[in-house]
Amino acid sequence: MRIDFLRSAVAAGLALHLAAGMGLPLAAGQGFAGAAAPAIGVVVTSGAFRLNHATVRSNATLFEGAMVEAGAAPARLALTSGAQLELETTSAGRVFGRHLALDHGAVRIDRAAGSASGFSAGFSVEARGLTIQPDASGSTGRIWLIGERRVEVSALTGSFRALNSQGMLIAKIVAGRSLALEPQLIPGRYRITGRLLRREGHFLLTDETTNVTVEVAGSVLSKPDFIRLLGQRAEFNGFARRGATPVSDAAQVVEVAQVTPAPPQGSAPAGPDGAGGTAPAGAGGSAGGASGGAGGGASGAAVSVTMIAIIGGVAAAAVVGGLAASGNLGGSTAPPVSR
């Protein structure tokens, strides 16, 4: 056991050394001087791993598009861009200079880039059609594939942005938070909850689960009751309005089909149909209204989901407790949370 630990430690050390060794000298114009091929980094592990389906021990040089499969020990990836990743045990992904396509398992981002000044195009992780981007070079976090469809993102330091397959911002995950994301069958669908604000004649809403601000539009806004929702907490159902340019600070214009007042945060739990979407931990089975509900409904294993949002066709649930259940976050056929 201790020997394994020590081996891991040595492997991690090698990776860290190389990370700095490749990141910092590159900034100073050194790095892989004169290399004939564009090596993009180094992978180091304490045991064996697979590189392009060949078994390798200890360490290897990485090239663009290399498939890395960690074995019984995690594989540490130190890239010339300065990014440092740890592919967890039995995880696999294809590595490129600026991104990792996570195939299965989990990856930890220990450093997104060599330096803050060099973070113009930071490292990202692609997983199940989603793109997870650290917001800063110092952002650290973990991206984990769960079950067949779910991606969980945990931000340890800094923050991360999640984009859907169309490049639309669907979540901002700040330090200390975890979000479970699950692409839905209907792209562009929205079900978001937050306080409605008006700015320069536009209605804005920041979703409480995903931290994403959207501009709301549509015929619903012209109804006399709508103005009474200003400053109130409400749930909006709708679809992305294609081609529309939102006001600054908003990520997307949402054509609202249905608006429902939501109870203040921390109030009584949702009704039978999950009204309000503020189901307490473990109540996901009814809150989500979908098969399995809000992640907790299916297995309920060490998960506490406080809210489900659907944004840009991706269901998102804030996860407290670190481990997500393997249930369904809510299919596209899910009835609305509120009426």
Partner: protein, 394 residues
């Protein structure tokens, strides 16, 4: 009395020393588990270099010092030398890095240190040292050499040139062949396969690899290379040697292998197929689909006219049997015969027929015997047999 007191004092002293040693180990273990505070001096040097390697991982800023301490405790720890080399590479001290990797190789004359050196010199663009290390690594490689080959391939254009620099061996040749097949680099793969067919274990695993390579060449429409690869596999005398414009195993004397330029037999859905020397029989059922391929063989043709002669026999099938020959090129039908009925020339044990066709251009073709139900007829259970099929340019 004196002796017993002396014995008691020695025992107490021994116990105290043992207790002290145990506490020291416990403290070292605790320090190792929780790590020293940044900038702290090493609290313990109790002879376990692993502690310091672990510290190097936990405190990257202290890595150089920790690794040096690990090496002071165990100068023959090759993993510590490798880690030190990588730490030096981080700091831009390439001379120190190279020295450390060299020291690692001196401590451990196995694959891993020399593989690590090869990677280092590759990254540094040091051709001379890279090839020096890579050649030694290649000589020690007993596992899959693909990662080493990938490095060499990036450094040296041309597989044969890279192989010659790495040091030729069947192990490397088969590794390189797999590497090139994986990248669809057919021409270079054919060159490496030619070498492997000379040095490799053709009756054994290498024969299978080369046969699979031939199939891949055929799939990739690399007719000439496939022909050469196939013929290299044929023993002398080589009845299955493939020649342009000729069919292999035309009398069905040998069981069709389904590989290379031999016949590929497909059992008809819900039917069956049976081979005996000089006889290949298909049983078609009433439930057999309207169209299916029964038999095919790749063949390299020049542009021009060809005549296919074949002997066949049917039993129980409709008058218009639905059996016909088809020539395919790149997956498209180039020519197709009429449906063979029972009006062909009768011989003692069946019918002999001919089909004349034209190949529009030189290249790799597939000659296929297919069943395609003739409109207006119904499926009937029956048999179709082939005794030979030969191709010639008239």
């Amino acid at each position: 009395m004196f002796q017993s007191r002396l014995f008691a004092r020695i025992s107490i002293l021994g116990f105290t020393l043992a207790l002290g040693g145990t506490l020291r180990l416990a403290l070292a273990e605790y320090t190792w588990r929780w790590g020293p505070k940044p900038g702290a001096e090493w609290p313990m040097t109790i002879g376990n270099s692993s502690y310091f390697k672990d510290w190097a991982e936990r405190q990257p800023a202290l890595a150089l010092g920790a690794l040096r301490e690990a090496l002071r405790l165990n100068p023959r720890d090759s993993t510590a030398w490798m880690a030190l080399g990588l730490a030096a590479e981080r700091n831009g001290d390439m001379e120190q890095a190279a020295d450390s990797f060299f020291a690692a190789e001196q401590c451990d004359r196995q694959y891993l240190p020399v593989w690590t050196s090869a990677n280092f010199f590759f990254r540094r663009g040091n051709d001379l040292q890279f090839w020096h290390a890579a050649t030694r690594a290649a000589a020690m490689s007993y596992d899959d050499p693909a990662p080493l080959i990938e490095l060499a391939d990036h450094r040296q254009p041309g597989a044969i040139a890279a192989l010659e620099r790495l040091g030729e061996s069947p192990h490397l040749e088969r590794g390189y062949l797999r590497f090139l097949i994986g990248r669809s680099r057919w021409q270079e793969a054919a060159e490496v396969a030619a070498r492997l067919s000379l040095h490799g274990d053709i009756p054994g695993n290498d024969g299978e690899l080369l046969l699979n390579f031939t199939d891949r060449l055929i799939e990739a429409n690399q007719g000439e290379a496939a022909l050469a690869a196939w013929n290299r596999l044929q023993k002398f005398p080589a009845p299955d040697r493939a020649i342009r414009g000729k069919l292999v195993n035309r009398n069905f004397q040998r069981r069709p292998s389904g590989h290379g330029f031999d016949w590929r037999v497909t059992e008809p859905p819900r039917g069956s197929v049976h081979w005996a020397p000089s006889r290949l029989a298909f049983r078609l059922a009433e439930m057999t689909p309207d169209a299916c391929i029964l038999l095919e063989q790749p063949v390299v043709l020049d542009s021009g006219r060809y005549r296919l002669r074949f002997a066949y026999r049917t039993e129980g099938l409709a008058e218009k049997s639905g059996l016909r020959w088809t020539l395919l090129h790149d997956g498209r039908v180039e020519a197709s015969s009429g449906v063979w009925d029972r009006t062909a020339t009768k011989v003692s044990n069946g019918l002999v027929a001919e089909w004349n066709f034209r190949a529009a251009k030189a290249g790799l073709y597939e000659l296929a015997w297919i069943y395609s139900r003739v409109p207006g007829t119904s499926h009937k259970e029956g048999r179709a047999e082939l005794a030979f099929a030969s191709l010639e340019a008239p």
